[in-house]
């Protein structure tokens, strides 16, 4: 932890201020979606030179942010319409380490959705070796921020989310999805 003389400012996210792309209902939906390819930054690594745990989650959050923009959600949706998605639950598998500067590739699979929830699965791979480094499974809820409670998605958003869900229903379910933590004993 470092504390300078000036008060710390909040960190901005890579896509903050980037407007959502226009939705083309006739365009093919990639299975899975590949929307974000960062490199491991100096501020993400620990004293061992490896990407720290919480930064895997930071990257998954940025991948969700790229997905929001893909389906038409940006700061206007939040600030003007007053809706947002909140993460209520996350499960991460840390499989391999990532070193400073490593090229990363993220993919996103929508496992399920209903009228106010999205069940997402992020895979993080090394762009050159193809090794799977980590997976992140998340449940997100669509929230009416003024009411402070879950609310159904508007019809246009629901249609887009369910178009992605239909396209991704062809994908195999990742083996890490739906896992629970525990010490499994043989016999």
């Amino acid at each position: 932890m470092t504390h300078s003389d000036t008060p710390a400012k909040r960190l901005s996210t890579p896509l903050e201020g980037t407007p959502a792309r226009a939705w083309d209902p006739s365009a093919a939906i990639a299975t899975p979606l590949k929307l974000y390819n960062p490199q491991v930054l100096p501020e993400w690594v620990d004293y061992n030179g490896h990407m720290s745990e919480s930064c895997y989650l930071l990257v998954f959050g940025d991948n969700s942010d790229a997905f929001f923009r893909y389906i038409g959600i940006d700061e206007t949706y939040r600030d003007v319409r007053g809706f947002s998605f909140y993460t209520v639950e996350t499960h991460i598998h840390n499989l391999r380490e990532a070193a400073l500067g490593a090229p990363l590739r993220l993919s996103l699979q929508l496992l399920d959705a209903d009228d106010k929830r999205m069940h997402l699965f992020h895979s993080l791979t090394h762009a050159e070796t193809g090794d799977l480094l980590a997976t992140g499974e998340q449940m997100l809820v669509h929230v009416d921020m003024a009411q402070g409670r879950a609310a159904p998605m508007p019809e246009w958003l629901h249609a887009r989310v369910h178009a992605v869900k239909a396209a991704h229903s062809l994908l195999a379910r990742p083996k890490q999805a739906g896992a629970f933590i525990g010490i499994r004993r043989k016999n």
């Binding site: 639950e89 840390n94 739906g178 629970f180 525990g182 010490i183």
Partner: protein
């Protein structure tokens, strides 16, 4: 008095919050990672102990439940329960609270594994580490299983 171990305390840092001033989800995990470091300090795996043994812990798997928001500057603390233990793994359950409050802001289960850094590969705990872990675990055996332990993510039926 609770048998839970206080493993981290401090204010929510301004750098950890979103546009609304609320703690961002990745930074809940940062706090819980600090709490796992706090547990390591208590069982002899602080900087000096890691050097002496050549061992460290990796988190294999982590599960988070976000229950309430918390703003920058609020003093918070993490309480830790040991759920299970074998020769090289420890299953820990952290909860985040406002200082001295029993309300749970978030819960995090982590499966930690002891690693020989020279491999790196998994290896049994050093004897003195294992005995400290067992001593901390003993009073936790009779505690109720916490609400968000062992969960799988799924749509409500």
């Amino acid at each position: 008095m609770s048998a839970l171990i206080k493993t981290w305390s401090g204010p929510v840092d301004t750098a950890w919050v979103d546009y609304n001033g609320h703690l961002r989800d990745a930074f809940y995990l940062l706090i819980f990672s600090y709490a796992s470091d706090g547990l390591m300090d208590l069982i002899g795996l602080d900087d000096a102990g890691r050097k002496a043994t050549g061992h460290t812990f990796y988190a294999l798997e982590t599960h988070l439940n976000y229950l309430l928001e918390v703003k920058a500057g609020v003093p918070v603390e993490v309480r830790t329960q040991i759920l299970a233990l074998d020769k090289k793994r420890v299953d820990v359950y952290h909860t985040l609270h406002v200082h001295e409050s029993d309300t749970v802001l978030a819960a995090n289960e982590q499966m930690l594994i002891n690693i020989d850094s020279s491999g790196p590969k998994s290896t049994p705990f050093a004897p003195q580490v294992e005995s400290r872990l067992r001593a901390l675990f003993e009073p936790h055996r009779s505690l109720a299983r916490p609400a968000f332990a062992g969960r799988a993510i799924a749509m409500p039926i």
